[in-house]
Symmetry: C2
Subunit: 124 residues, 2 copies
Amino acid sequence: MKRRNTPTKEAVLSVITKAGQAMSQDAIEGEISIDINRATIYRVLNRFCEDGVLHKVIAEDGKQYFALCDGCDETHQMHQHFHFKCTVCETLECLPNEVNFSIPNGYHVENVNCVLTGVCKKCS
Amino acid sequence: MKRRNTPTKEAVLSVITKAGQAMSQDAIEGEISIDINRATIYRVLNRFCEDGVLHKVIAEDGKQYFALCDGCDETHQMHQHFHFKCTVCETLECLPNEVNFSIPNGYHVENVNCVLTGVCKKCS
DNA sequence: ATAATATTGCAATGTTGTTGCAATAAATTA
DNA sequence: TAATTTATTGCAACAACATTGCAATATTAT
Ligand SMILES: [Mn+2]
Ligand SMILES: [Mn+2]
Ligand SMILES: [Zn+2]
Ligand SMILES: [Zn+2]
């Protein structure tokens, strides 16, 4: 399953990179110049997640947001940082703050999803 | 909008209380003895949330889980604790661990949704 | 008992995300 | 360059979860 380079992949990654924040599928489709099918966008995004290019965040609206990874690869995924979702401008951004937790014995944590919701700096 | 007591409300709250953990709509419908409409269950649950009886958690599957509140009322809602969702038994529980975070100046946090996903003690 | 209105059931609708399959296009090989 | 392989895409259908409008019902107050 070797990856291939396509205009679609480049366009999707370009939009997310320019935005500088996490984006949902519909936001990406809205910002992208070329016309790409909804299902294709999801498949591209999920493949990027598998490859450690993006990571997925579930916000309080239950939607998936995709953000650029910083220092991840297929094996090492460190996404233990907080995210902030603004209820006004609807954007979701990665915060630098690390998530610290300690869980009871016997529990195995495989994934962390921490989202703070409120009003961002720009919208205050 | 004064609340009224109904068998439906009592049944829903009873199921969640007995379970001792957060539950989704379909889990509640599965455990409940009487037959209650799906939409009604959601309305009952959301009203409980408004009244500070329950709180809502969004898990990594994007689904809503409802858990008993401990020390909440309509005005003071302190749900800044972690939650753990087991991928094996599919249960979601409130952890005692408090969520500590500090955010950049100008940001206003109104809600916290922190879910750790993995394998719980029982399923390990 | 009557009146007011909160609650419910039902069906329809909305939203988000996934999947099967045939067509297309990127990468490899000859 | 031309042929081959197969990853990628578009389309349509499907699935899961949640919400909404409206008429019927049940609870509470008078
Ligand atoms: Mn992030
Ligand atoms: Mn909780
Ligand atoms: Zn904002
Ligand atoms: Zn478990």
